[in-house]
Subunit: 213 residues, 4 copies
């Protein structure tokens, strides 16, 4: 434990390296254009490691990952956390099993969010890859990804996510209109699996729409 700051610096180093590795992969795929996107991992019940605002996600080092508490406040550092930190800590608070949160900004995600904004959700049905999302055992299921209205005022986004969760509907990821995707998992590996699956399925839905129109 870091006596002054209240978290384990070794755990932070491990998480920072894991985040940087995942981010390099996403950047190579074009999912983090123009310094967009942000990533986090839970350090312990009260602390989260999260990317510093505005860095090139293909070249993150340990100095680009900082610590915040569950109320979005920087801990033991003077860097500025991502503007969307509140969306990360919300997931850790509301879904306590969560170990990692990934927010990316691929072209597929941005376009799908615009296209399905009026439907307020993307409904996925009949895809084998729905099984890659924890809790789904068959393609013969329905996986809804909500699309929330975009705003620069974070509390309004937090409220939209809270309202969905309060309604009791399952939530494995969400889109923000004109923006990107949030998803998560118990581990960063599970979160990556969810991200890869949702990116793939959104792409398939766009392709089908192009082909069936």
């Amino acid at each position: 434990m870091n006596a002054s700051a209240g978290y384990d610096p070794e755990r932070l180093a491990i998480c920072a390296d894991a985040i940087a590795g995942a981010a390099r992969n996403f950047a190579a795929l074009g999912w983090t254009p123009a310094t967009s996107s942000n990533f986090s991992m839970r350090l312990d019940s009260g602390h989260v490691a999260i990317t510093v605002s505005g860095r090139d996600k293909g070249q993150l080092g340990r100095e680009d990952i900082m610590v915040v508490d569950m109320h979005d406040q920087p801990v033991g550092e003077h860097k500025r956390p991502s503007a969307e930190t509140a969306l990360h800590t919300q997931v850790y608070r509301r879904l306590p099993e969560t170990g990692a949160v990934l927010h990316t900004h691929s072209r597929t995600q941005s376009v799908a969010s615009r296209l399905f904004a009026s439907d307020k959700r993307v409904r996925l049905q009949g895809w084998e890859l729905q099984k890659a999302v924890s809790g789904y055992a068959t393609h013969d299921s329905t996986l809804d990804i909500p699309v929330f209205a975009n705003t620069q005022h974070m509390p309004e986004l937090v409220d939209q996510v809270d309202a969905w969760l309060d309604s009791g509907q399952p939530l494995h990821g969400y889109l923000i209109d004109g923006h990107g995707l949030y998803t998560w998992g118990r581990s960063i590996d599970e979160a990556r699996r969810h991200l890869e699956a949702l990116e793939f399925l959104l792409g398939c839905e766009l392709d089908l729409r192009r082909l069936r129109s």
Copy 2:
């Protein structure tokens, strides 16, 4: 020969390395999202080397390849083989020249399977690359890729493949609806050539449909 298990461990090591190398290539192309896809090679008349369920296909090591017999039972190990092992062993049993079976899950394959599901097949005609499939000497031929209905109950998939083979129609690969492609070859190099050719041709068919609509 491995006295206790009945297969040659040196042959297993060679096959495991060949599978891992091919899988890295497919993963880099985006054909194995979210730990999907599985790959196998024949060890001998009674044994098959096959990927363990649920691993990241871009990072397979020897420990991620296991041995099953022709009735899908693990041999000399306690790992869980891929849920779709029965589809691999079926090909080795029914088409005895087969040396390798590749199942991938590209976006093109998933989308084509949905789009052509009601036709029950994708009919390829007039493409020079049909010649990349063994037995096809001209673009002026017809190459049918059946699309089978998806199910989580493997015996039903096995039955659909058996019915096609029993009908006497040639079979070089098949799609499963909402899922991906199975193809194979006498060697893993031939299986890769078939996979590259079918992925390419399915993509061409989707493009033509977009352009001619």
Copy 3:
């Protein structure tokens, strides 16, 4: 200072390496086909480092970067600067904060320029990534990218850009019809962020048009 030529050769070496590094990245993304595209950085108030005409942008070395003055004349060298040098120096003259100018030629840029040529601009609205362009703090803004008519006579292109700037409209980048994109920034990092954001947003607009037609 280089007494004979009037610029700092150490600054030139640093800029040449930065340009070559950025160009390798753009080439790998397919944004510089067939030796197209050109890149520059400001050396000082009177000199610009710019790519020599016609080189493969994926393999630039220091010898592929030359110096011109603000009137497009080569300084201390006998190489031929890019045919479009006048478009670079214009930006440095008219927008004095500019430190780097990037001109790429991606398929998305070329196609968008043709498609929006009759509108004379691409209007971007509602995209979170508009915030990646300096001066834009919200998705709820309008970012216009003008599309200028193409000509092989550089002064006519310079005049079109001057007319836009003289009208007082903000300018962060522009397309030339059937050609590519020009964008810039105070540093090469900012210019790259602008390029990545505009390439991404043009691609999103094309996708939306395909999907909504």
Copy 4:
């Protein structure tokens, strides 16, 4: 000079390495699926270095390049040259400045060839990148790429190319229906520039068609 075979083996080694390097690049771009495509360079007035049939174009070594004479006969080796050797030697005979011929098989090329087969040509107009083809100084020009009917009988393809050349129309590359692209240049660098430009422009034309339909 190799006394027994009549060509310079050092020149062959240089050409083989240049072909292998270019082929690796094209393979990485997905332009040579399933062992398709073939490449050649002129050794001297009577000899051509050309890829051996059926190899993986991403992994060519010197042993995968052989020598043929201008009548398609292997010289000093017993390997089988590409089935399409006659299309290479034809270009060297008819266009004596040619130093390299590249035949690739990208998805864009295959789809464009099918789509424009009934027009018998792809007409390129208004693209800045037309200037990347030697002899074109402005986007305000017309660059026709003929689409020839496919056949497995090489003399019929040779005849179609001869007929085009005999008509006096310029020829910088051609498509074969359902197949790929042939292009060439005085050097392999010029041939690559032509290939990159034509691949790009065919892709732009397909995109425009999708967007304007």
